[in-house]
């Protein structure tokens, strides 16, 4: 009996409904398809659209079965919001890459003053022995021309750490974002890419 050793890699994208996570995951998945991987991606629509917690799971390799990522199995986590980063931090594989946007979106219990938004989330995550890259993607996206491109800044951060040509990413962005925003999104992608391709960030 031949035991198949899986080469499947897992990327978890988490955040809040409305942050452009599905779009980022679409671009990412398209890039992985272009790079000739087998790809599966799982997302949940519906109630989560109304400002709820959102997660999208992307898996790629020579053959992918489950569309879901198990706990402590994600090679990469891309968190679009701090509280969601903390909520999903158990999904990172030891030694995995964790990229977190520093944006905070307060959930209803916090808005109502019934719960506190956790302080020093970056320290809490690092305290688990995680090598966290905290990125102010909203400000960087504004530099690129629109705060709305924060999702693509984060994608750029991830892209620089993956063995796929930059051109493949550009092509996928061009295909997926509204035509008028292609330039802004490419600039946003570059800003993210250049940030994590610096030697200091290489994990």
């Amino acid at each position: 009996m031949i035991s198949v050793i899986s080469d499947v890699k897992n990327i978890l994208l988490v955040g809040v409904g409305g942050q452009g996570i599905v779009l980022a995951a679409d671009v990412l998945s398209q890039v992985l398809v272009s790079a000739e991987y087998d790809v599966k991606m799982s997302e949940i629509h519906g109630m989560s659209q109304r400002g709820g917690s959102v997660n999208t799971m992307v898996r790629f390799g020579s053959k992918v079965f489950s569309p879901l990522i198990d706990k402590a199995k994600a090679e990469y986590i891309l968190a679009f919001e701090q509280l969601e980063a903390l909520r999903w931090s158990d999904y990172l594989k030891p030694g995995g890459v964790f990229i977190m946007n520093t944006q905070k979106i307060e959930p209803l219990p916090v808005l109502l003053g019934k719960a506190r938004y956790p302080q020093n989330i970056d320290e809490l995550i690092r305290g688990k022995g995680i090598n966290l890259l905290a990125v102010d993607a909203d400000s960087l996206a504004e530099e690129a021309g629109s705060k709305k491109a924060a999702n693509i800044v984060l994608l750029g951060c991830l892209a620089a750490l993956m063995p796929i040509d930059r051109g493949v990413w550009y092509a996928a962005i061009e295909r997926r974002v509204p035509p008028k925003t292609v330039d802004i999104n490419k600039r946003a992608f570059d800003i993210g890419y250049d940030l994590t391709s610096k030697p200091a960030f290489i994990v």
Binding site: V33, E43, G46, F65, S66, P107, L112
Partner: protein, 583 residues
């Protein structure tokens, strides 16, 4: 060419390739995107029906005329369509007819997690279950062939993880062309008892023939591996089993009703231990046990919620191994992130008022159901589509109380709110029915419906006149009110609930995701005394910081509902404040 498609996109593509000419359904997570994708094919007549029963009846008509017809709905939708379904099983079809039932294990967006595989058994019709998008494309084609060869409707049962997961699909396939012919055949299609009795025999014989077919069906297949454990599985559970136990032997079933007895028996005989892995009910397991075969399943595998590879591994692991899997838990409790009504949602002011008036509110299915959560807490019930009105009538009749209102949306009212309103009038109820008319089916992603007049294909027709429908039931008092005007909202509700007759208030304003008025954001000034009145609206734009309210101008829609609840006039238009002067 291989492309990445969701299960729903794959079903739409597969239906196109299979030559479907009629596709109909009612929106419901996780099924909605099937019709939203299929609408792009000019060759297919795609339509949103007012409800799932009508959708299936339209599809039956198309099938009778010789067309291939697809019907889509979420699992609870099949409850609504069950009436035609059970007799359709007797009449059979002319053109192929396939019903997609999108189940929601784990209840991501549903009020229950019923296992619709039971419908196939109860209606005695075949059922196929895809495990990913490629499967979905192949099975739609198989489903139509089975439907026509065996003269039966077929259920394609999916689950959320199949509908909403994307995987690679081979799409270079040509569309099947089918001749459409109709021959009158009352013995087959008119189910008076005399005809139905002979069709009853047909149904049973058909099931036997389908059982034979299931043995040879290419979708049911064994993947041999290690024979210590043999897994019998279907749908997305197959993917989880392959992930968790890549070396085990697996019998993958894609036709899960009727089941292939010989194939299953042979498989079980060739493995040391056979385990059925299926989400929700022990549907496959029970059938195998009825045959007297040795198999286990729910003894290990949970019957509640979704499965995943970890759960399957954990269920079958020895107790000692379990401890290893536990990861370190954080010692702080994280605030949850429940879904919320959008900033400026027209439902908010009405729900806020219902809470203030301390009324008993029988609720319904839609965005407004979120009004059950704090701080609005304005809902006492939510059962199923259209249930609010009957619930209110019953509650009132049982108690004699007038402080009871039914709340439902426009699309829900059209779906199944009209008959209970007729009942309320006919049976001398005195309920007040509130229709939150936001001109769309908002929760499922803003689909049009008869109340908007616009069809799925984009044609503009006459919008259903809700006031006239309401009056036609015999309701004398119908008010149409802008829900942004809190004073009028409150007065109307007080006035109508005081009456000894049934009445209807239509709160009409378009969902902000459909039609966004050009309004300016507001902010809170130093006049705020921290009374929290605005915070109690549960608006995502309003937060409570250092004993004062704050408005996030980036998401404020300018609906001015909070302006009306503020007793200190501390909420003002952002642009009109001189922020440099210090406030």
């Amino acid at each position: 060419m291989k492309v990445l498609l969701s299960g729903n996109e794959a079903i739409a593509h597969g239906a196109y390739v299979a030559g479907v000419t009629m596709a109909t359904g009612y929106p419901g997570t996780p099924s909605t995107e099937i019709l939203e994708t299929i609408v792009k094919y000019d060759e297919i007549e795609a339509a949103w029906a007012p409800n799932e029963k009508v959708a299936l009846e339209v599809a039956i008509g198309a099938s009778l005329a010789g067309s291939r017809a697809l019907v889509t709905m979420k699992h609870v939708g099949l409850n609504v369509a069950a009436d035609p379904l059970f007799t359709l099983a007797y009449t059979g079809v002319n053109g192929g007819l396939v019903i997609v039932s999108a189940d929601d294990p784990g209840m991501h967006s549903s009020q229950n997690e019923q296992d619709n595989r039971n419908y196939a058994k109860a209606a005695k019709i075949p059922m196929l279950e895809p495990s990913d998008s490629q499967d979905a494309v192949l099975l739609i084609d198989e489903a139509f062939n089975i439907s026509e060869i065996f003269d039966t409707p077929v259920i394609l049962r999916t689950t959320t993880r199949v509908n909403h997961s994307k995987s690679l699909v081979e799409v270079d396939v040509e569309r099947v062309r089918k001749e459409e012919t109709y021959e009158k055949n009352p013995q087959k299609y008119v189910m008076i008892p005399a005809h139905a009795k002979s069709r009853r025999e047909v149904v049973e014989n058909r099931l036997n023939a389908l059982s034979e077919f299931a043995e040879q069906f290419r979708g049911n297949r064994v993947e041999w591996g290690n024979r210590h454990i043999g897994f019998i599985t279907s749908g997305v559970s197959y993917q989880y089993v392959k992930e968790a136990f890549p070396d085990a032997s697996v019998l993958k079933l894609t036709m899960t009703y009727p089941l292939p007895r010989k194939l299953i028996t042979d498989f079980i005989e060739q493995v040391e231990q056979a385990i059925v892995v299926e989400e929700l009910d022990p549907f496959i397991e029970e059938q195998i046990k009825i045959w007297g075969l040795s198999v286990s399943g729910k003894r290990f595998i949970p019957a509640i919620g979704e499965l995943n590879p970890d759960i399957i591994r954990g269920s079958l692991a020895d107790k000692e191994d379990d401890a290893l899997e536990e990861s370190e838990a954080l010692d702080i409790e994280l605030p949850g992130r429940p879904p919320m009504l959008c900033p400026g949602c027209p439902h908010r002011g009405v729900l806020y008022t219902l809470n203030k008036l301390k009324l008993v509110v029988t609720g319904d299915i839609g965005c407004y159901t979120l009004g059950v959560l704090p701080p609005l807490e304005a809902m006492d019930t939510c059962i199923c589509m259209g249930a609010s009105i009957g619930n209110a009538t019953g509650f009132q009749k049982a108690t004699g109380r007038k402080d009871v209102v039914a709340v439902l949306g426009d699309s829900t009212f059209v779906h199944s709110g009209i008959t209970p309103l007729i009942d309320a009038v006919y049976n001398r109820g005195f309920t007040t029915v509130i229709i939150l008319d936001n001109r769309t089916t908002a929760m499922t992603g803003r689909q049009d419906h008869p109340g908007t007049g616009k069809t799925l294909k984009g044609y503009d027709g006459p919008p259903l006149d809700l006031e006239m429908i309401v009056r036609a039931t015999g309701i004398q008092s119908v008010k149409v009110i802008d829900p942004y005007d809190l004073k009028v909202v409150k007065e109307a509700i007080k006035e109508e609930t005081a009456k000894d007759e049934p009445s209807v208030i239509i709160f009409r304003r378009a969902c902000l995701l459909v039609e966004r008025p050009n309004t300016k954001p507001f902010m809170v000034t130093g006049a705020c005394n921290g009374c929290k009145a605005c915070v109690k609206l549960g608006c995502p734009a309003i937060s409570w910081k250092e004993k004062r309210a704050q408005i996030d101008p980036e998401i404020c829609s300018g609906c001015e509902v909070c302006v009306q609840v503020c007793k200190k006039d501390a909420v003002v238009e952002y642009a009109k404040v001189d922020r440099g002067a210090g406030i």
